[in-house]
Symmetry: C2
Subunit: 157 residues, 2 copies
């Protein structure tokens, strides 16, 4: 039975906002599964957390914590852009959605995206957008998104 992960208790996963204590629960390690994030000190984490907190509902990072292991297993963020276009409209930008590779197949990505989308809707956005790889396009289509434009990037070296 060693290493078995099944129990009689059903697992439940709730989406909540990022908390300061989530750094010690593997939040940064989870981001590493998406892109480079190899050195964030406790102080840097706290400073960025506080900086984003001043934006209130205009920049929200959500997480799912596995209550059994106490680890963060999924995350995503959304920020609200305020335009003059569309009669001073607002647009929700979803970024940095990732699910722990050991927690795939549990629909956690869908839960995260639904949370972020509903936050954008509640903030009065007329649309929510994101950029993804061609491989992830089918996942976002299942979440109700449609392909529209092409993303262009320029890196600073």
């Amino acid at each position: 039975m060693a290493g078995g992960s099944s129990t009689d208790e059903p697992r439940s996963f709730h989406v909540r906002r990022l908390q300061m204590t989530d750094k010690s629960k593997g939040f940064i390690e989870l981001l590493r599964q998406l892109s480079v994030c190899d050195s964030v000190s406790d102080e840097e984490f706290r400073d960025r957390f506080q900086e984003l907190s001043t934006m209130g509902d205009d920049h929200v990072i959500c997480v799912i914590e596995d209550e059994r292991s106490g680890k963060i297993v999924a995350t995503g963020s959304v920020f609200i852009e305020k335009k003059f276009l569309r009669n001073c409209g607002r647009v929700g930008h979803i970024e940095d959605v990732v699910v722990d590779r050991d927690a795939r197949g549990l629909q956690l990505g869908k839960k995260v995206v639904a949370f972020l989308r509903e936050h954008a809707r509640s903030m009065g956005c007329y649309k929510v957008i994101l950029d993804c790889s061609v491989e992830n396009r089918a996942f976002y289509e299942k979440c109700g998104f449609k392909h529209k434009e092409v993303q262009m990037v320029q890196y600073f070296t």
Copy 2:
């Protein structure tokens, strides 16, 4: 000679930040060439302008004014997203670039994009990104961008 627009003076176009008085110089009419923007009152404009001003260098809208006509003939915006990813990195998001249809061919789009890109660089961003139509991809490639991902959208009705 009626309607002629050529003179002996060379035309020069400078990029500057949006000012409160730009509403009366055709800024909203210019945005209408990009997407819906059919009713923005002076009060709504002032409120959104002041709201964006509180973000300082984190959200910048630039314009080019035709000094002969006193009209705004090009604009674009960039906002700075603050992440935990990439070691608390920053990303510049370019949005709402448009050049007046009567001022095409003067390289104004390139000037606007260069201004926004340099602002993102000066803010310490590791990259700058934007979404565009397939038709505009070649223009952004000339500006130094490369195609990377696909943009997905969900409209709220």
